[in-house]
Amino acid sequence: MDTIFHLSERRDATPPEVDIPAAYRRQEPLDLPNPSELEALRHYTLLSQKNFAIDTHFYPLGSCTMKYNPRIAHRLANLAGFARVHPATPASAQQGLLHLLWDLQNGLAQLTQMAAVSLTPAAGAQGELAGVAMIRAYHHARGDLGRRRMLIPSAAHGTNPASARMAGFTVTELPTRADGDLDLAALERELGPDVAGIMLTNPSTLGVFERQIETIAERVHQAGALLYYDGANLNAILGRVAPGRMGFDVMHLNLHKTFATPHGGGGPGSGAVAAAAHLEPYLPLPRVQREADGSWRWLDRVDCPQSIGRLSAHAGNIGVLLRAQAYLRRLGGSGAHRVSAYAVLNANYLFKELQRVGYRAAFPQRRASHEFLLTVEDLRQQTGVRALDVAKRLLDFGIYAPTIYFPQLVPECLLIEPTETESKATLDRFVAVMAQIRQEALEQPELLKDAPHQLTVGRLDEAWAARHLELVQGRC
């Protein structure tokens, strides 16, 4: 499809008449298209139809928790009373908004069993950065300046080591045992006075619950270090197991996963950070506080002198936070409990059914959490068909691809997470399609290697893209 730069009249804007001195002004007229409103609307409507999305397709996408984004949350976040609030509005004129954000802080604190929450991180990675920066601030405040090392399982999300490094830590990777749990002995070897903390997610990225979590917490704390909880997999235990109860000191939540705010084709996310009492002083700014008179206000540097500070210009992705609060308020406590119950039920059902039709589990002896790992290494050896080919072929059936090649320690792996919002009929169709694809892989592997065949484009050449780097539309 043509770009907007091709399809519309490009008569330039007339040179502006304005009393700003010429030295400050653009010399050439703005070279942007001038489509009619209908042309623009039609262009983007047609473009939208080229996307897969939750509203149109099933996403068995491990670690991404692609659940239904309730439409009511979208409508409510867009109410003029919220959407038109300027960030510099005094608290007295945005009490409704502050009230809801305060409710969300509290709700998240309850669910995680943490002492306090800051909603400001704009995404999971920023939440991680905030969390590890808080760990650093905690040690520094105690004069414990030598803790420069962060322990991270090798299977962790890539953001974990990246965030740790941005917070000034060096990273030590920890191995995983064959049963999917952490190698406790390795942990104990690494723990020492230079270790600031450990970053874990539980269930882990291998799709299994880390059974030794209480022991791990005990050892880490004994060594004077802290535990960071990566909330990416919170959907597996939401409303059932609180990270605070497992011994974590600080964590982030991916509201755009667990709390059903939309992925929006890549964002905006929201990565609220929650902390146990001893880390509360370091939470990023601003936060909402309820005053004795029942009113709400922003807490800022004066109130929280030890805070790690501000992460973005304002208070985070408020519009996303409103959606998360709408979701949580709709669920309530027992609804949150049902989320993980059905997420885990759906995952375990798929886990069994996909094994039944021939797929190999990476950890067959374990329960699936909200997701599970398969490997098609057997297919690769037999036919040359790789996980990527299976993924691309799924697209032809109107099913989004699972996460592939993550975690890297399992070869040719598919990480599959159905979420709680898909029906049994959808899961059964997925199993049938996966069975068919397995058959195709064995009988006509070329069909998979060229997939997809039914979309608006065939398999795209990413190497060509990186070599040519056509990153902008030239003059046309």
Binding site: G81, V85, Q95, A164, M166, S334, N348, L469
Partner: protein
């Protein structure tokens, strides 16, 4: 389904988790029906007054074409995942490609990414990138009159990597940046905000030239709508800025209490491998059909892990879509008109307010759509008083840690009507009389 799994109950599926860790959360209220939820939110939204907005300081009440909300609310954009599976994400990918092109044409730069969280965090990433490009340096030159909340972001995050901010002074008479004869030795880059936190236009050509002669990178901080009128950073001074960041909220994104907004990030083509964030490239499929995909992912954390250019993963996808649709709907003519009207409405407001005795302009240099006035009473008091008239009068400079108690930073956009100006004047008159 339980039968298929051979499980007696859903609870049995959690049998690997110690039982004492499990429970149903207490302390959360019961769930609400959609109807009750809507009532609660609507009551809270309705309890907040809709104000005539004259506040700016980095967030502006511009008109948003009606097409924007309709289109970004479409499920295909709204509920799509990050476009890692390119073939199933051509809509989002082409939108980002078009966004990158829009940002490049507005800024005069060669490459732009798929956005960062907001303008301030984009500036933070720009500082890190400057230090990757000048690995031997450890500091960034930051103007005193950068927006203070942006500065706070740098102060929170740069020290984690032992990077210092060195403050560039402001000429007290002109309100614009002053640079020393010689730059500090370990400085990697100079941040040049066009527009500065006082609403004033900087002499960006001279600043870029100074940075260049000092061997510094120039990091331009811009408001992209203003670039419909103002000189594009790619043409500043001699050879232009090296990195351009900015806040795209003015391009079709609601104020929404401060977010989600959208950080833009552009640079020279030769620096692209040091960029943070996602990038979309045009490519081909096996039959030669054109398509789009993410590219240079080896810069990113999901591939490079601890060695990535940034930990950033999520961009502001839906806001990118909003900004792209807004720019397309408005077109070159509409963007220019919005910029001109913003300047003119601000100018009209300035003239009207200067008619009050004791009200004066502190710095009188050229401005785009925002200016500082000094009032004979504290600006915070003024601001609070005018709320009762349904007016958000501006942002007290003292709230920003700048200026004097009487100084108020006031913004106008194309949305301001004569009636709004009259209302402001009437309310101000009443306030000043008391």
């Amino acid at each position: 389904m339980l039968a298929a799994i051979d499980a007696g109950s859903i609870d049995a599926l959690f049998d690997e988790i110690p039982e004492h860790l499990q429970g149903i959360p207490q302390g959360l209220p019961e769930g609400l029906s959609e109807m009750a939820l809507a009532r609660e939110f609507e009551a809270l939204a309705g309890a907040q007054p809709l104000l005539r907005c004259f506040a700016g300081a980095g967030a502006y009440a511009h008109h948003i074409p009606a097409t924007v909300a309709e289109l970004i609310g479409r499920g295909e954009f709204y509920s799509a995942y990050t476009p890692y599976q390119a073939e199933a994400s051509q809509g989002t990918l082409q939108v980002i490609f078009e966004f990158q092109t829009y940002i490049c044409r507005l800024t005069g730069m060669e490459v732009a990414n798929a956005s960062l969280y907001d303008g301030a965090s984009a500036l933070f990433e720009a500082c890190l990138m400057a230090l990757r490009l000048r690995p031997e340096r450890r500091s960034i030159l930051v103007p005193k009159h950068l927006l203070p909340n942006w500065r706070e972001v740098l102060d929170s995050l740069l020290p984690l990597q032992n990077i210092r901010c060195i403050e560039m002074d402001v000429d007290p008479h002109r309100g614009t940046m002053q640079v020393p004869a010689q730059a500090p030795a370990d400085a990697a880059a100079l941040i040049i905000p066009q527009i500065n936190a006082l609403g004033l236009l900087e002499d960006v050509d001279a600043l870029q030239r100074w940075a260049k002669t000092q061997g510094l990178l120039s990091i331009a901080v811009v408001q992209p709508l203003s670039l419909a009128l103002l000189k594009e950073p790619g043409l500043w001074g001699e050879g232009g800025a090296d990195i351009v960041v900015g806040e795209a909220q003015a391009l079709g994104i609601p104020l929404s209490g401060g977010g989600p907004y959208c950080g833009i990030f552009a640079c020279r083509r030769g620096m692209v491998r040091q960029m943070p964030g996602r990038l979309v490239a045009r490519t081909r499929d096996g039959s030669g059909r054109v398509g789009y995909c993410l590219t240079l992912q080896a810069r990113e954390q999901h591939i490079r892990r601890g060695q990535a250019t940034s930990n950033v993963c999520t961009n502001q996808g839906l806001m990118v879509t909003a900004a792209t649709i807004a720019m397309a709907t408005l077109g070159a003519r509409g963007l220019q008109e919005a910029a001109i009207q913003s300047h003119e409405k601000a100018s009209a407001l300035l003239s009207a307010l200067l008619r009050f005795e004791g009200v004066e302009r502190v710095w009188d240099g050229p401005f785009f759509n925002e200016f500082v006035l000094r009032f004979p009473k504290p600006a915070a008091q003024l601001r609070d008083a005018l709320l009762a008239d349904g007016i958000l009068a501006g942002v007290p400079l003292a709230d920003l840690g700048l200026g004097e108690a009487g100084d108020l930073l006031i913004a106008g956009t194309e949305m301001v009507t004569d009636e709004d100006i009259d209302a402001y004047c009437a309310a101000l008159g009443r306030f000043l009389e008391h």
